[in-house]
Structure formats: C-alpha cells, structure tokens
C-alpha cells in the first residue's frame, strides 16, 4: 500500500480543516437523520448561510462553519443526513468516518422530536462510538403541536448524555446547545452513555478480540466498537481501519489530548 490512502477522503478533509485561517479550539461534528432540521441548527449556530431542505439525504457536501462562545472558537462540521452509520451509501460512510476517525471533540446528533424512536437509532449508534455525544432534540415546537410530550430529564437519565430541546427555526434552545457543547468539550462534565448490550454470543465474541484491538489501535478508537465492526465484517469500515493504522504507524505519537479526557470518563475499553 502506498501513500495515496493518506491524503484522500476523510484525511484530505481533515488536513483542509487544520489549514483554515482561524485555529479552532474545538471541532464539533453535527450528525442527524434527514429532515430533522439539522441544517437549520447548523445555520442557527454558525450564522453561515447554507441550504436546508426537506429532501432526504440532501446535504451531501460537508459544510463547515465557525462560532465564538465564551472566547472559544468552535468549528462545526455539518455531516450528511443519515438514518444510520452502518449501511452502504457514501453519505453514511462520510458521516461514520468523520465521527469515528476524524476525532471530533464532540458530536451533536440532531433528532426530530416528533419521531424520536426512529431517530434514537442513530443516536445510539453514535453513542457507541463516542461518549462525547449530545442529543439536540429539534422541532420540539412541532412535537408540542402534535401533542407529543417528551420527558427530557428522563431521556437524559436513560441515555446518559445531555439532551437539549430546540426549535432551531425560531432559534429557541440554541444558547443552551452552545453551553452543552462547551461543557462537554471544556467543562468537567463526563457523559456516561448507556451501553448497548447485545445477545450473549456476540458479547462473548467481542470480549475475545476487544483487548487485542485496544492494543492495536493504542486506545485511540473505541475498541468495543471496532471489535463489533470486525465481527460484522463490513468491508468499507475495514478498509478505513487499514488507512487509519497506516497513518498511525510512522508517527508513534504520544497518546493524544482527547484520549486522556476520554480516559477520565472511563468509557472506552473497560466498559461493557
């Protein structure tokens, strides 16, 4: 394998991100199902004009924007709208690769409050990759109109991550969302996302390889998640893991900042 893999796809995007004129204090990924008003949240936070639509999967280009909050310069990356991080479309690969290998400081998942159950699928998948997940429960006004009541405190409790209700069209809740992002990245707050427990044979198989995965990736990516993907045998993610290893190899850097923070949360590796 040559050097070619190193500056394509996600890595080209990351390099581009690092070269931007304003140095970001934190990079935040914005994920979500199509039609959840994700782009409206993005516009509301960054003020950058970007197209939003009702069309499923329309935001295919990765848009990025910046905002300043409490003297910190935050870069927000608007990922393609996807139902899941498991399937085969290019959109889903981009979203998954960024959340997993792009090492964002936090990931905000925008969910449609009128249709929470369906949206939780993606939320739970993101939570499996990173504990630094924030749930932005958008269209809360619409849910109210449809007489759907959501117990935010209970949801926060069950999921173990911050849950912020918003109505981005009217800019409601965006201030709270900024604060939650700030607390997750710079604050003392530690999330304890609810772990997914699979059927026994899968759990046994995970356990068999997880420790070795942890060693191989030097704890940089969530070993439980990697082990699960290896069991699943998804070819695209396996290729992306090879690329990641290739990039890791020559540098042998000390363990990154982010990793230490994550470690304090005790969420990688040791948890089941």
């Amino acid at each position: 394998m040559g050097l070619t893999a190193k500056s394509t796809g996600i890595y080209a995007f990351l390099e581009d991100l690092n070269q931007s004129s304003v140095k970001a204090d934190a990079i935040i990924a914005l994920a979500g199902n199509p039609n959840t008003g994700k782009s409206t949240v993005f516009n509301g936070l960054t003020g950058l004009n970007q197209h939003t639509g009702n069309w499923p999967g329309k935001t295919v280009v990765l848009a990025k924007g910046n905002y300043l909050y409490r003297h910190k310069n935050i870069t927000l990356v608007d990922l393609p709208g996807t139902y899941s991080l498991l399937a085969n479309s290019a959109d889903e690969q981009v979203a998954r690769d960024f959340i997993c290998f792009g090492d964002p400081d936090a990931t905000v998942v925008v969910a449609d409050a009128t249709c929470l159950e369906r949206n939780l699928n993606l939320v739970l998948q993101v939570m499996e990759i990173t504990p630094k997940t924030i749930l932005c429960l958008n269209l809360i006004d619409e849910a109210k109109r449809k007489k759907i009541e959501i117990d935010i405190a209970a949801l926060e409790n069950i999921l173990g991550i911050p849950v912020i209700p918003t109505a981005a069209r009217d800019k409601t809740g965006l201030k709270e969302l900024r604060e939650a992002i700030h607390q997750t990245v710079f604050g003392k707050r530690c999330n304890h996302p609810k772990p997914m427990v699979y059927s026994e044979n899968i759990e046994v198989a995970i356990e068999k390889i997880q420790a070795e995965v942890e060693n191989l990736f030097q704890g940089r990516i969530n070993s439980r998640w990697v082990a699960l993907r290896l069991l699943d045998g998804d070819t695209t993610i396996i290729q992306e893991m090879r690329n990641y290893l290739q990039r890791m190899e020559p540098k042998d850097q000390p363990v990154s900042e982010t990793y230490k923070e994550v470690e304090c949360c005790g969420s990688f590796g040791s948890r089941v």
């Binding site: 039609n35 109109r145 209970a154 699943d232």
Partner: protein
C-alpha cells in the same frame, strides 16, 4: 510498517471466524439497537391525545389517482409561467441599464485614448457577452430558484418522485431522477450535482448522463424566441399561447428523450439490476420565506450566475476576435462557418448556427448573441430590440420555419455546456462518462435534426 497490518489481518480473521459461526451479526446488531430505541421512546415519550393528521389529508389529494398528476402539471406550469412572465420586465430593465453602461465604457475608452482593438476585445467582446448573460439569465433564475426551493423545503418534491417512480422504474431509472430533472430546469450543472440524492451508482449515472435533455435557464430564452419565430414563419397570425404550447411540447419531448435514453442505457452500457428504492415522504413544513430567499439567492442563483459569468467573459472575447480578424477579406468566423456550411445544411441548420453552438460551449446563453453577431457581421454582439427585428435578420440570412424548428431541437438535445461537463467530470470521476455525456446527446441531436430536415425536404415543403 507491515507489523500493524499483519496484526490487523490476524484480528480480522479471528473476528470473521467468530462472526461466521453466529451467522447474521448485522441483523442482530440492528435489531438490538431498534429494540433499545423503542424501549427508551416508550419510557420518555407520551402522546397527549391525537392531533389531526394534516399531512395525511394533504397527501390524500397530492398523491391521489385523480389529482396527483394534474396537480403536478399545474404546479410545473405555474412555476414556468411565473419564471418566464415575471422575468420579462426585470430582464428588459437590466439590459437597458447594462447596455447603457456600455456606452459610458466606450466613452471612457475614447477619453483614455485606448486603441480600437482593446476597446473591441474588452467592451464589444467581453462586456457585451457579460451584459447579455446577466440580463438574460439573472431574472429568471432569481425567480425560478426560490420557487423551486420553496417546493423543496415544503416537502412537495418527494411526492413528485413518489407519483412518478413507476414511469422511471420502467425506464430502468430511479424515481428521484425527476427531482434532478426539475433542478436541471434551473441549471444542468446544478441538476448533475443534485443527482447525489440517488443512492445507487447505476441509476445515478443514468440521471447524470440524461440531465442535459431538460432545457436549462440558459437555453429557455432561445427556445421561447425560436418558438415565436417558428410560429411567425409558419402562419401569418399566431398568438403567444401557441408559441408557449410549442415550448411546452419541446419540454415534453425532452422528458421523453430522457426516459428513452435512460431505458436504452439501462439495457446496454449500464446494465444491471434496479437497486433499492426507499423514499421518505417527510412531514410538510411551511418554509421560512426570509431565510429561503436568502439561501436560494445566494447559494443557488448567484452561485450559478457567477459560474456563467466566468465562462462568458472569455467566450465573448474569443468570439469578437474571430469575427474581427480578417483573412482574405473574410473574418475567421466566416471562414469557419463556411467549412461547417455543408454539415449544417444537412441537419437543417447552417454553418453559422453550428459554429455558434460550438462557440457557445462555455455557456448556452451566448449561442444566440454569437449567431446574431455573425449574421450582422458588425463584429460585436447586439441585442435586437424586438422579436420582429430578429426574425427579419434571420429571414434575410436564409431562415425558414425548418431552421427555427431544428434550432430548437438542436438546442434541446445537443452537448451540455462546459460547466455542466466539468461538473460531470467531477461527479463521476471519469473521463469516459464525461465524453459519453457529450457524445450521446450530440449524436441524438444530429440524428433528430437530420431526420426532420430530410423528411421536411422530402415532402417538398421547401
């Protein structure tokens, strides 16, 4: 180097051995996550009474057997009507302003004592091309894109795909292709980018290769002018309604060609099983008009406009130079047109028209201005102030209704503009498909025009 990879491969083998023992790992993973989601939702979400399902009521009409198709056609007509009639006035105003500015520029050049050729290249060539493109393109786009974005944000477009999917399925294509075609009315390059919404590569490629058969904003003014000239040459008395009907007929022809070519492609070059079709019909949402306007004007209208401007400027310069450098008493333009005359004639056009299409490769909207410029031989693009003046000029240059008809057909079917081709190159990452995207339509355009010309002449109509 190889150490980590070897280690990874070993782990992978181990995992695959485990995985294959269990069978469907993916199924179990998805099932577990969805069960969990259902469980959490049951705990945190309460339904307080039942709200009226407005979406369902709207969909009962919008996708009904009786109203579904008529409503779609009506909406499409309204969008076109608003675009065409609404653009007339601002277009005239812009043209007046921009061409007025040209006189000021000329005065400025004279005052500065600039040489004639410099004034020619910059003002008569470049500036005029820009002025033409902006005044012809900007107003319709500034109307079309917000309207399109409105329907998109409202959630209506997925219903169109839902209604029409069966038609596209029969052609081996994807229902969402209709949406990329709608976008193509604004700009084919934008339409090609919109093809990303089609998940499967095969159907996406079909949509990309056929998007050009939808006449974009740059070609629409040509169609309208040609329709008026055609009707005027065919019958002495005609009203604007029949001319509009003719334009509509051309659009229908474009859609038919799209379906036919899609069908042929899916049976030949792009053979394969139709892929999955899953389409969400999202809840209707009334868009915020303010932000909708800002976004559609900045992200779409000005974006597309700027791209056209960038290619029109050099094209105007080249056209002026070709028309003004004389070799043996004839301009280069006339020489080139002379070489193309035989071919042009065979397909019911003439050498100048073919040359105008070739020089118009950078942007379709400069085809007619280049053509007028070559006929007038005055060496710069002009805007004739009325359709009658244009008709007279064309008739003096040997036009018949056949020429006008074939000009419409060729404009509808010929190769995409350079911007669209570059976009196709970018989107497909393939030179082969880009070349095919130019060759397929051009081949069809030549064939159709040739057949029409031969039939008309064979019947002794000329």
């Amino acid at each position: 180097m190889a150490h980590l990879e070897a280690e990874f491969n070993r782990l992978l083998q181990l995992a695959q051995a485990e995985g294959s023992q269990m069978g469907t790992v993916r199924d179990r993973i998805v099932q577990t996550i969805y069960r969990e989601a259902q469980d959490i939702a049951e705990k945190a979400v309460k339904l307080k009474g039942k709200a009226e399902d407005v979406d369902r009521m709207i969909d009962n009409v919008v996708t009904s057997k009786i109203w579904g198709y008529p409503l779609m056609l009506a909406l499409l007509s309204v969008v076109f009507w608003l675009t065409i009639s609404g653009a007339n006035f601002p277009s005239a105003l812009l043209a007046e302003f921009l061409f007025g500015l040209q006189d000021q520029l000329t005065a400025l050049f004279q005052w500065a004592g600039a040489p004639d050729w410099l004034h020619g290249v910059l003002v008569l060539g470049m500036y005029r091309a820009l002025a033409w493109v902006v005044s012809v393109m900007l107003p319709p786009m500034a109307i079309f894109f917000p309207l399109f974005t409105f329907l998109e944000d409202l959630g209506y477009l997925p219903r169109v795909a839902f209604n029409l999917d069966k038609l596209f399925k029969k052609a081996g294509a994807h229902g969402k292709q209709i949406l990329t075609m709608c976008m193509g009315f604004g700009c084919n390059a934008a339409g090609v980018i919109a093809c990303r919404i089609i998940e499967s590569p095969r159907e996406r490629l079909i949509a990309i290769l056929t998007n050009n058969f939808v006449p974009c904003n740059g070609r629409f003014p040509t169609m309208i002018a040609m329709a008026a000239i055609f009707m005027g040459l065919l019958v002495s008395n005609y009203n604007s309604f029949t001319a509009s009907a003719l334009v509509a007929g051309v659009v229908v022809l474009g859609v038919s060609v799209t379906l036919a070519v899609s069908w042929i492609l899916s049976k030949t070059l792009l053979k394969g099983i139709p892929s999955t079709f899953t389409l969400e019909l999202p809840p209707y949402r009334i868009p915020k008009i303010g932000s909708l306007l800002i976004r559609s004007v900045f992200d779409r209208t000005l974006f597309v406009m700027m791209r056209a401007v960038v290619v029109a400027a050099p094209a105007g310069m080249v056209a002026w130079i070709l028309a003004n450098i004389q070799i043996g008493g004839l301009s280069i333009l006339a020489h080139l047109a002379g070489w193309l005359q035989g071919f042009g004639c065979a397909i019911g056009l003439d050498g100048f028209i073919v040359l105008a299409f070739l020089l118009g490769l950078p942007a379709n909207e400069i085809v007619v201005p280049i053509l007028i410029m070559s006929y007038l031989a005055e060496g710069a693009m002009v805007e004739l102030d009325s359709i009658e003046a244009l008709r007279e000029l064309l008739v003096n240059n040997g036009w018949t209704w056949l020429t006008a008809l074939n000009m419409m057909l060729f404009s509808l079917l010929h190769f995409p503009c350079a911007t669209t081709l570059l976009t196709i190159r970018k989107e497909t990452q393939s030179l082969k498909w880009t070349v095919l995207a130019a060759l397929i339509p051009t081949g069809i355009a030549i064939a159709v025009c040739f057949v029409v010309a031969q039939i008309v002449r064979g019947l002794g109509l000329f």
